[in-house]
């Protein structure tokens, strides 16, 4: 699997400085990726392309955070989308009702998400597999119906209308399309870097142990419940970040952001890209959004086409795209070692 590959890469570099070196490498890759993305507006005037990248940022943060649960910890949440919706709504409401600067609304939204996730997580993470999946789904439906029925506060099925005010701060004006684009890219890269750090930290390996064999982990002195709750809250924070990017992008928040289908999309993305590598969900995000955009242009039955593609990946390949790349790479390395 993945960790097989990740572990190998780690031991190839000299033993002592290996871990630190890997971190510098990740930061370097992140900087390059950001530079490439940020310079895109210089080369193209295509608003559609920039919009595509912004949507990829929102969904990418969201889907990668789900992989922290599914791929790294073995917690298959069917309700992860609730934190995407919660992020979008909290941020939108704070901006509309309180008119505070954007960074304050951003931090406040993360704080709210952390509290809600801690409460829901405390109830859910004790449950095993299918029960965990269904109870998280139930909480998602609860949040969705709260948004629908509390119309005076949330706008009900109309969503948060009238636009989210986006006052400039520190010379950044998110009402400006290019500024919003750069800010989304920055959030994406920072979010991915933070999640990568979590995945490669001692805690990240604790999560892998829990995924493989939670009972054994507890016989090593690990508090499994606490570790699961921690990662549940952390993943919720990054999902909320994705929701905030989405809210800024559409300048509003809609009940669909909190509907169960959004969790389903994140699971599809993970299946498309693969959960055994860190960047699998990111690749899956680009794939799904590309598919979505192209297929809707040709047919109104895009759901059928997407369904077939997903069935092909789930039943035919049984892996995501990047899983194949990782396996091919590991195989090549192994035969290389054999020489």
């Amino acid at each position: 699997m993945t960790e097989l590959e990740a572990g190998r890469a780690q031991t190839l570099v000299p033993q002592r400085g290996g871990a630190a070196l890997q971190r510098y490498r990740d930061v370097l890759i992140a900087l390059i990726a950001f530079a490439v993305l940020a310079s895109l507006p210089l080369f193209t005037g295509s608003k559609a392309l920039l919009d595509f990248v912004i949507r990829c940022s929102a969904y990418g943060l969201f889907a990668t955070s789900l992989n922290l649960l599914v791929g790294y910890t073995g917690l298959t949440s069917f309700g992860h989308g609730m934190f995407f919706g919660l992020g979008a709504y909290s941020f939108g409401l704070i901006m509309q009702k309180l008119g505070v600067p954007i960074p304050i609304a951003f931090v406040a939204t993360l704080a709210i998400t952390a509290i809600v996730a801690a409460i829901i997580g405390a109830i859910c993470v004790r449950l095993k597999e299918i029960y965990f999946a269904f109870v998280t789904l139930a909480f998602q439906m609860l949040i969705h119906s709260t948004i629908l029925s509390w119309a005076s506060f949330t706008g009900g099925d109309q969503g948060l209308r009238g636009g989210i005010p986006r006052p400039a701060f520190l010379g950044i004006n998110l009402a400006n399309h290019v500024h919003l684009y750069i800010a989304s890219c920055a959030l994406l890269i920072l979010g991915l870097l933070a999640m990568r750090q979590i995945a490669q930290s001692p805690f990240g390996y604790t999560l892998r142990m829990i995924r493989d064999n939670a009972a054994r982990a507890s016989f090593l002195g690990i508090d499994v419940w606490r570790a699961k709750l921690t990662v549940f809250v952390l993943a919720a924070l990054f999902a909320a970040m994705g929701g905030m990017v989405m809210a800024l992008f559409v300048s509003g928040a809609y009940p669909e952001f909190a509907y169960w289908t959004i969790s389903g999309e994140a699971i599809f993305i993970n299946m498309l890209g693969g959960v055994s590598t860190f960047l699998g969900p990111m690749v899956g995000t680009v794939l799904l959004l590309l598919l979505n955009d192209t297929v809707t242009r040709f047919t109104e039955y895009h759901g059928i086409v997407l369904g077939v593609v997903i069935l092909f990946f789930a039943l035919g390949l049984r892996k995501g795209l990047l899983d194949f790349v990782a396996e091919w790479y590991a195989h090549r390395r192994e035969t290389g070692e054999g020489r």
Partner: protein, 251 residues
Amino acid sequence: MLEIRNLAKSFGGVKATNDVSLDFPDGSLTAVIGPNGAGKSTFFNLITGALRPDSGKVLLDGVDLAGRSPPEIVRHGIGRAFQVASIFKSLTVQETMLAAVSADQRTSAVLHKRFPLPETRDRAEHVMELLGLVSKRHRTAATLSHGDQKLLDIALALVLEPKVLLLDEPTAGMGPEERWRMIDKVRELWESQKITVVFIEHDMDIVFKIAPKIVVLCYGRILATGTPDEIRNNSAVVDAYLGTEHAGAAA
């Protein structure tokens, strides 16, 4: 010193462990034997916190650990390996060891540093050397042979530097030759690490050869305790468990 006092556990009407009291002095090596269903694994599960005893005490150096959670009991110094190797299948041998040391040093929740932490390295190396896993350090646990998986399981317990090591059938599922190699390893570890080792074993030849002290369990009760010679000549044990063949060999 590990002292078990009047330990009891029932499942429905079945008394799986029935008023068991035993002493395991520091640095002792003890074999636990008994027919299938004698309550050997239950006995281990009660000591390590996998099961909650109905009554009784598990005293380690005077501290009662009965009924506490597995992580707590491990932290007090009772490590265990399992009958079916209980390992982390997608981690490499080296990662497994490093992560286990991290857990023991209470750094398993650290987020801001990269795995592995430098201070986990020496202990992980040391135990891999002890168990002869150094050459397989980059192998994923799932790809190891059955015997190596059992060794890795023991290494996981040992790397926590326990005072007491409980081994649930270290030779389960092994061929005759591999069995002897494994049990020699266990004996070697016991001698070099100066820890208290308790192991469950089915092969009587092995038990009589290496264990200075033997405990015989039957229907959840202690049937007999003693040296190999005492056990061989104990008529209750012979009737209940050994049959006449071994008794004949001893005579």
